[in-house]
């Protein structure tokens, strides 16, 4: 393979313990995602899609196995190291946007930049650029409540890319949107992948949405089944 692997999961297992029972989500998961990939993860409810994203984003740890990011294992980082790592490398997009209700669009997008050493001036410039990319430069001062669902999700995308991370993780980003708006969002993700070279892992229930990705992974009973689109 000529492309370098951005993410590499080796023998990853994840179990949850609830009371006396242990619930095994994955027992032996192996996966390579090259830099610049756009992967759609599908699968029945409860199959562990969100759990997988959480592990890729350093929010959750595997019970065993290794997760390599850019050649370095992340599962051994401390909580604080993981926070810093996330701030630098991962952008998150959620189903329900998860914007800060009291802050303007610009301030929401600025949040990840507070974790960098950029000056206020540079931050404002970056925020403007990010909002321009998602086509909302004229809505900088609007609060989430004053924006439509699709617009809110675009602000969330701007927030995900503003710190220029390599990886974008999206958990059902169109799950709460109508078909036309969903298409706009998916086209935007495609654009980020194609033009800015962002590696994207997107969880979705919608086969039509999955078609926007370069490949589809089906997660069921703890293993992947791959289909190229």
């Amino acid at each position: 393979m000529s492309e370098q692997a951005l993410i590499e999961l080796t023998n990853v297992a994840k179990t949850y313990r609830r009371g006396g029972e242990t619930l095994s989500i994955f027992s032996d998961l192996n996966l390579t995602i090259p830099a610049g990939d756009f992967v759609a993860v599908m699968g029945p409810s409860g199959s562990g899609k969100t759990t997988l994203l959480n592990m890729l984003g350093g929010l959750d740890r595997p019970s065993s196995g290794t997760i390599m990011f850019d050649g370095a294992p992340i599962e051994r980082l401390s909580e604080n190291q993981l926070s810093a790592w996330r701030a630098a490398n991962v952008g998150f997009i959620f189903q329900f946007y998860n914007l800060m209700p009291t802050m303007s669009a610009a301030r929401n997008v600025e949040l990840p930049l507070l974790l960098t050493s950029l000056s206020g001036r540079d931050r404002r410039e970056r925020v403007r650029t990010a909002l321009e990319i998602v086509g909302l430069a004229d809505r900088m001062g609007h609060r989430p409540k004053e924006l439509s669902g699709g617009q809110q999700q675009r602000v969330a995308i701007a927030r995900a890319i503003v710190a220029d991370p390599k990886l974008i993780l999206a958990d059902e980003p169109t799950g709460d949107l109508d078909r036309v708006t969903a298409q706009e969002i998916l086209e935007m993700l495609q654009l980020l992948n194609r033009e800015l070279g962002k590696t994207i892992v997107m969880v979705t229930h919608d086969p039509a949405a999955a078609k926007y990705a370069k490949r589809e992974l089906h997660l069921d009973k703890g293993t992947f089944e791959e289909r190229l689109t």
């Binding site: 909580e79 996330r86 701030a87 998860n98 800060m100 507070l114």
Partner: protein, 387 residues
């Protein structure tokens, strides 16, 4: 935007709640400031210079006069070191609304007994030696822009002169600074100059001001004076200055304790209210905190932001409390300072200020502790499952 911006945005999330909490803190600090000033005054009220001072007034009512002729007999009471006398003048300057807290006094003995007025010695001499001299408190001198040597008219709304006027022209001979036990508001005119001109009630005084040789003899002197004049035309009632200042208090210690209790109760209540409200505020924000953690904000930084919110709240409310307290004390002192020397001593002292800053820090820190801990413990994965 900075972390301070995040703190503001956290507080601004529900501005009405924030305003109510700041108001609760404000009230606690206002109570603290005003009662604290009372406490400081009470603690300093009974110091050496005033403990040997007694006030003799008419038994019927302290506004009734006493004959000046009593002076000799009081001087002869055993244990009496010095005696002076004073009469309420009911003064104003030019217009009635320029109220003056004015007394006619025997200058030499009065300024001997009230050393704590703090008069420069040369000015004291000048006041004692001039018939028409005026002794003025620094605050009043500044209020009207009076200076030494200036001639001014002071008028009375009680007394009239034999020539029909109610105005005594005087020359400012001394300005006193007061002390912890004395305000610097009252003005004093020479009794003799006042008495020889007034149209009625001549040779009477409002109070005799007695200094005893030691606080230990106070009770004996009080009994001796009052029995001296029992069954006479004007019976007397003698009390210690301390008793006069805090007539409503039997034991100053108890009032101090009550003040401490009230202040303590106010602070504990506010602590619970604010702490509880902030725990709720953080709980409402669980989702937002989870998002911030996802973006890469560390738990420590999120905890600091929450404590920053409670600290800011505490300093806003507390600062306002101090400010309004200071305004009330300053105004109260000027309004009431003359009626009782006690009110004249009320002030916003460092003994009140420094602990207040400490309390703000503690209140802000303590009320932030639990919510900050809760915020730091927010688990991103379970928080999102709940959303």
């Amino acid at each position: 935007m900075t972390d301070f911006g995040l703190i503001l945005s956290g507080l601004g999330r529900k501005s009405f709640r924030t305003a109510l909490l700041a108001f609760a803190i404000f009230i606690a600090f206002l109570i603290y400031t005003v009662l604290g000033a009372f406490r400081v005054s009470l603690e300093t009220a009974g110091d050496a210079s005033s403990e040997t001072r007694l006030a003799v007034s008419n038994r019927i009512n302290f506004t009734e006069p006493l004959p000046l002729a009593y002076l000799n007999r009081i001087q002869q009471v055993e244990g009496v070191k010095d005696v002076s006398y004073s009469m309420w003048f009911g003064g104003f300057f030019q217009e009635e609304r320029n109220f003056l807290l004015a007394f006619a006094v025997e200058p030499d003995s009065y300024t001997r007994i009230y050393r704590d007025l703090n008069i420069p010695e040369d000015q004291r001499q000048a006041f004692v030696n001039s018939r028409d001299g005026l002794l003025v408190g620094r605050q009043t001198a500044e209020r009207f822009g009076w200076t030494l040597g200036q001639q001014i008219p002071i008028s009375s709304n009680i007394w009239r002169r034999r020539d029909g006027s109610n105005t005594w022209p005087v020359v400012i001979r001394a300005i006193y600074d007061g002390s912890d036990t004395q305000g610097a508001v009252a003005v004093y005119i020479n009794y003799e100059y006042f008495d020889e001109a007034r149209a009625f009630a001549n040779d009477t005084v409002g109070n005799f001001n007695v200094q005893t040789v030691s606080p230990d003899v106070n009770d004996a002197v009080i009994r001796a004076i009052d029995s001296q004049f029992s069954n006479s035309r004007a019976e007397t009632e003698t009390v210690t200055e301390a008793a006069f200042q805090a007539a409503f208090i039997d034991q100053q210690g108890n009032l101090g304790l009550i003040i401490l209790g009230v202040t303590g109760a106010a602070f504990s209540t506010v602590l619970l209210i604010v702490g509880n409200a902030m725990v709720g505020a953080v709980r409402e924000r669980t989702g937002e905190i989870a998002v911030m953690k996802t973006l890469g904000f560390s738990s420590g930084r999120i905890g600091r932001i929450v404590v920053g919110e409670t600290l800011l709240l505490s300093f806003i409310g507390g600062g306002l409390g101090l400010l309004i307290g200071w305004i009330l004390l300053t105004g109260g002192r000027e309004l009431l300072g003359g009626f009782s020397p006690f009110f004249g001593t009320l002030r916003f002292s460092p003994a009140v200020l420094w602990p207040a800053l400490g309390f703000m820090l503690v209140l802000g820190g303590v009320t932030g502790l639990v919510p900050a801990w809760n915020a730091m413990r927010v688990n991103v994965i379970t928080a999102f499952r709940r959303i």
